[in-house]
Amino acid sequence: MIQVENLVKHYAHVRAVDGVSFSVARGEIFGLLGPNGAGKTTTIRMMMDILKPDSGTIQIMGQPASEAVKSRIGYLPEERGLYRNFKLLECLTYLGALKGMPRKAARQRAEALLERVGLEEYAQRKIKELSKGMAQKAQFVATIVHDPELLIMDEPFQGLDPVNTELLKTILREEQDRGKTIILSTHNMNQVEELCQRILLIDHGQVVLYGSLDEIKARYAEHAVLLECEALPASLSGVRRIEPVDHAYQLILEPDSSPQAILRQLVAADAGVRRFEVVLPPLEQIFITVVEGNR
């Protein structure tokens, strides 16, 4: 769906994006992550053809970033807003029409989406009369009103309560089920873990992590297992130390040991294992480790 090769962009003497390459497959939810000022927004703007790269190539749906491709993309930027003095439905229809939809079709689709997010009663209200949460949902609708094949969303859940956050996540999953590709940029790592299959982490304009979420987490695993059992054996070979965690134990393994070897010992000792899992670090921990290590 997207193929980015060796993208470079300078601002004066700052190399905002420095040789970034990645690809996004059709139908996946892809996390574009990075600390503030890492180059995410510049990368997205180049993908949207709002900024021109100094060098490198971008292929979206097999074509260079262009006006023709733009109409097939739904873009929710970080800096966003809607016409405050427009009526909600009028604004959504206009934005749909700008994306190439006939006005009537844009209006019908906007009405259906407003109903889906519970804003149908506000269709004829001016946008300035909407609450912050409602405006965020309206903004989300504006992004998908033209039924795009690719969604690029920068902090889509910003300013939403948990109920509405869940609603939008459900809609995103539905869009994925319909074969849509989604690029999600957020600082909320829980949301990334929940929604994304693969991620790209940029720092100082360069790629520092890229791949499937499971692979990356496994790469940063602490070589430990979490164990919940009826009776902990008195001795377990290959375990450096044992730390109690709530109603369980975290077993820190020797470098030459493996989770399989520990599990075999537990079964042999008839420990009554209720839970046994390899400890994977949360993505947030990996993010902090990588970004701080990059400083």
């Binding site: 900024l51 006006e67 733009k70 966003r80 206009y94 700008l98």
Partner: protein, 412 residues
């Protein structure tokens, strides 16, 4: 092209609904209708009303004559001027408000021409009396009474009743009425004022719109759908149509009102605005609009807030106001060198030329040079403006520096 037209249509719809625009567009013709109705219904009564209620002071004027020249009893002005035997009597009458003022003719009046005027309540009312034409007429009448025949007396009092006759280029006598100066000057002059109002109203809307889109963070969403140049072109086109509609309403209303005025007051030749002046006026309007609209749109994109954008744009508004400052000199000669120079400078030429066209004949060569410079400037401003517009739109919270502007030209 489709997106340009979409943006233009949206701008047209949004701005035609603006209360400020509707009021302004309808107010000017409404004022004309009111003026016409007042004039036709009340006619001379209105003039009488003003004479009766707003005249400075209707009381007669007293005088003390030490020169022995005056004799009000035989004068046609005897009700306006009352003689007093001495100054104390005149002063008493003034303080009793029997008279509005009095004047004293010294014994050597004929030699010196000196007239001393006494009045109450400040210098201005005293001065007005001293300058009043009736007093002058009274003195002239008294000076020549019995010395020349009555017909000469009448001519001395009113030496001329001008009957203007205009000759055409072929030397034929024109049938234009004495009111034709209204057509030659006032109508185009008023038109030029309205032209400037429209020019800056629509350009102002453009600035406001761009500024609002930037401040409201809508711009990046728009740019994900269309090119900045398309956005700029759509806005200029849409708001240009808004301005032209306003001008069309005003011209139509003006033509109807003048037609009605001609019928009501049997004035002839009042509407003598030449077609070429109207066409040239419209050409300058369109070109002036293109120049200012682009400059205002770019100003809108450069400011971080609407107020800041307006401050940037005020530089251009100030330039457009310069031609108005020269109007006083142009009554004598509409082709003074300053006016000619200002007709060539792109920022002043649209307004300057519309004013000059109103004043009279502008050499064709000057019009051509002025239009050529203006058109070249518009091409440059559109080219440069589009680059700055593109760069400035995404700069939030910071105004582009000179270095940023230079970079915009290099990169875009």
């Amino acid at each position: 092209m489709r997106t340009i037209l979409l943006v233009a249509a949206q701008e047209l719809i949004v701005n035609l609904r603006r209360p400020g625009y509707i009021i302004m567009t309808l107010l000017i013709p409404a004022l004309g209708v009111i003026a016409l109705l007042v004039g036709s219904v009340f006619g001379g009564e209105v003039g009488d009303f003003f004479k009766t209620h707003l005249a400075i002071n209707q009381k007669p004027m007293g005088y003390v004559d030490h020169s022995g020249l005056l004799s009000a009893e035989q004068s046609s002005y005897k009700e306006l001027f009352i003689p007093y035997r001495d100054e104390s009597a005149a002063r008493e009458a003034l303080l009793a408000h029997d008279i509005r003022s009095y004047f004293v003719l010294p014994a050597d009046y004929v030699q010196t021409g000196k007239v001393i005027v006494y009045g109450l309540g400040g210098g201005f009312s005293t001065f007005v009396d001293a300058d009043e034409s009736k007093l002058r007429d009274f003195l002239v009448e008294q000076l020549i009474a019995g010395r020349v025949e009555p017909a000469i007396q009448e001519r001395v009092r009113e030496p001329m009743k001008v009957e203007p006759i205009t000759l055409s280029e072929k030397g034929e006598v024109s049938t234009e009425s004495p009111f034709s100066w209204i057509a030659d000057f006032v109508v185009p002059y008023v038109f030029s004022i309205l032209f400037v109002i429209t020019l800056f109203t629509t350009s102002g809307f453009l600035l406001e719109g761009v500024s609002e889109e930037k401040e409201g963070r809508i711009i990046e969403i728009l740019l994900s759908s269309i090119k900045p140049t398309e956005l700029l072109a759509g806005k200029i086109l849409g708001l240009g149509a808004v301005g032209l509609i306003q001008v069309a309403v005003w011209i139509s209303a003006g033509a109807l009102l003048l037609g009605a005025a001609v019928a009501l007051f049997t004035m002839t030749g009042v509407l003598n605005l030449s077609l070429s002046t109207v066409i040239l006026g419209l050409i300058y309007f369109v070109l002036g609009y293109l120049l200012y609209a682009t400059l205002f749109a770019v100003s809108g994109s450069m400011g971080t807030t609407q107020r800041e954008s307006q401050q940037i744009a005020s530089i251009f508004s100030l330039a457009a106001a310069i031609p108005w400052m020269t109007v006083g000199f142009m009554f004598a000669d509409p082709n003074i060198p300053l006016a000619v120079v200002l007709s060539y400078i792109p920022l002043t030429s649209p307004v300057m030329m519309v004013i000059r066209l109103g004043f009279g004949r502008v050499p064709g060569g000057q019009i051509l040079v002025s239009l050529a410079i203006l058109m070249v400037s518009i091409v440059f401003v559109l080219w440069a403006g589009a680059k700055i517009f593109r760069m400035s739109l995404l700069m939030y919270g910071k105004r582009p520096s000179l270095r940023d502007l230079v970079r915009a030209f290099k990169e875009a």
